[in-house]
Symmetry: C2
Subunit: 342 residues, 2 copies
């Protein structure tokens, strides 16, 4: 390579690294798009319902519109954008941009989301599993910025996760890495949404907590939470749990503390196997109830490590990006891809 | 870099890759050394007792002697050897060559094993945790040769493990990766040797199986195994278990099959999180009882995967290197290091 070529190549690299990119969070109920700079600042954003029930074409058209709205909100030109990253629920092949399987998008199977968006929007599109993207966001411009080996744990309706080694997302040999919610921590334990038994998701997700609270109520235990929920359709949101915790409701406190203990044992197991630099805890349940749960998760985790590690050398951090984690992670992944290809 | 320099460098690389190296398995009871070529053939080997109770200096002197004996057995000159790899039980810092902690070597703490051997033997020495080295051996010249992402699971007295991603051993941020034996699969379950509860090691190691069989015998159940063990010091070796299995002893069969089921659920958990290309099962228990255990481990694993994967796309393989896995893995690691440094 000649001197001029080298210089050109270096310039292309730098322009890519500093480029403006678009991040998209394609969720089961809503689409969130944002124009993002290389520092993770959102320069403009837009939102739209997903309407997954209307089918693949409609969803892709809505993603395109939301992307265009975000660009308009940023007051930039679409041609300023160098690449797009999109996080989607389900199994994503980041090499081909195909969503192999997405139950939460009205059962998408083998949808070439990346190629179709590239055609519509005229630029490279990186497709990633949403929780992987969220973990990548936290590890680059969020709570774990600066750490290179990170495990993200996201308890909400289910429990999702993502794993980074040496700055790179672990995708797995069959695009399936990071399904930590279905690691079994109580063999033959309670039934999980996946049909098996004893997964951590069946013990410490919001759904599991709801099941345990409703079970205790049916068994005759009392709680202020009965006044907070609809008796005909007794769903317990993370916000409701937080209210009951704040009021020191004994039943809700018991169940939440047990879930946090289970998460702590589980976290220690992951550390014993993977020995990362830090753990990030996010997701709806932690956002609402983290103040009560994280101290128990931390105390249990450090107690269950096979080899003692000082907490400051392996911190357990609350996520920092909230609802923007997937969008920002997808945008940062697009940025990495721009650099790799430049 | 000029043409000549490039050529020289290429030659150095190739000579390194094809170089003869020495692999050492430093165990709690014995030292095993072998001169190994780049294909994993052992050209000469030697063996000696460790005598860990005599202290660090004596053990290191014995390692040096065993290494020299192996070279003599290979009929090669020590100067032919380009590098040494050594696997040791405990926490090894592969960057510095220091054994941070090794309970099985009479409680070594911060022993600079690598630097001391380099001084004695006059060549680069790579130090690695023994199970990591064994996994690396299986992944390069053993059962999983050709696979780049491998999880090794080794049930014996305890349960050790090793993890490779993209051809590289996962060492962890605190040199602690791979302690999969202390992942909890039954919260608040049976007490583990580590002092905690419900680790897979407390459910499916030879020690756990021994505990369960002796417990059932004390509870009044009968078994032919009482004739095979010393009533005053009732230890049950893996070989004894194999004999009882072969004779279709109902108690031993029950306990072994339950352990295999637990290992299967555990294996699925690891796959759900890490999605490797293949799993390798080794260790004393599997070597003796694998024929009975592996079919149950496999059946349970594939049933517990969150996303179905065809067995041929994620095989569960019995280890192929037996007692030579650590020695060969250490030798192959030394070879990699030679290439990296050339």
């Amino acid at each position: 390579m000649g001197k001029k070529q080298k210089k050109d190549r270096k310039r292309a690299h730098e322009s890519a690294r500093h480029g403006i990119r678009l991040g998209i969070d394609l969720g089961g109920t809503k689409i969130l798009a944002g124009v993002v700079d290389d520092q993770g600042h959102i320069l403009g954003s837009a939102k739209r319902k997903t309407r997954a029930e209307r089918g693949v074409d409609e969803v892709i058209a809505r993603v395109v519109k939301t992307a265009q709205d975000a660009v308009a909100a940023s007051k930039l030109d679409l041609r300023t954008i160098k690449a797009i990253g999109i996080g989607a629920p389900g199994v994503a092949d980041y090499r081909t941009g195909v969503i192999e399987f997405a139950p939460n998008l009205n059962n998408w199977v083998n949808v070439p989301l990346g190629p179709r968006l590239e055609k519509e929007l005229g630029m490279p599109v990186i497709v990633e599993n949403d929780v992987n993207a969220g973990t990548y966001g936290e590890a680059t411009v969020g709570a774990a910025a600066g750490y290179r080996s990170v495990v993200g744990i996201f308890p909400g309706t289910g429990i999702g996760g993502g794993i980074l080694f040496d700055g790179t997302l672990l995708r797995g040999a069959h695009n399936g890495a990071g399904e930590i919610g279905h690691m079994v921590v109580l063999i033959d334990g309670p039934r999980c949404g996946c049909g098996r038994r004893g997964c951590i998701e069946a013990l410490a997700s919001r759904t599991a907590i709801e099941r345990d609270i409703l079970g205790e109520l049916r068994g005759g235990r009392t709680s202020m939470i009965v006044d907070l929920i609809d008796q005909d359709d007794p769903q317990i949101t993370s916000g409701t749990l937080a209210s009951a915790l704040e009021a020191h409701d004994p039943l809700v406190t018991d169940v939440i503390e047990r879930a946090a203990y289970h998460l702590g044992v589980f976290t220690a197991s992951l550390i014993n196997a993977l020995d990362p630099e830090c753990i990030v805890y996010g997701g709806g349940l932690i956002e609402a109830c983290g103040e009560a749960m994280l101290p128990i998760i931390r105390e249990t985790t450090y107690r269950y490590l096979i080899r003692p590690i000082e907490p400051e050398k392996l911190p357990i951090l609350p996520a920092a990006l909230g609802d923007h984690a997937v969008l920002l992670g997808a945008a940062m992944l697009a940025g990495e891809e721009m650099v790799a290809q430049s």
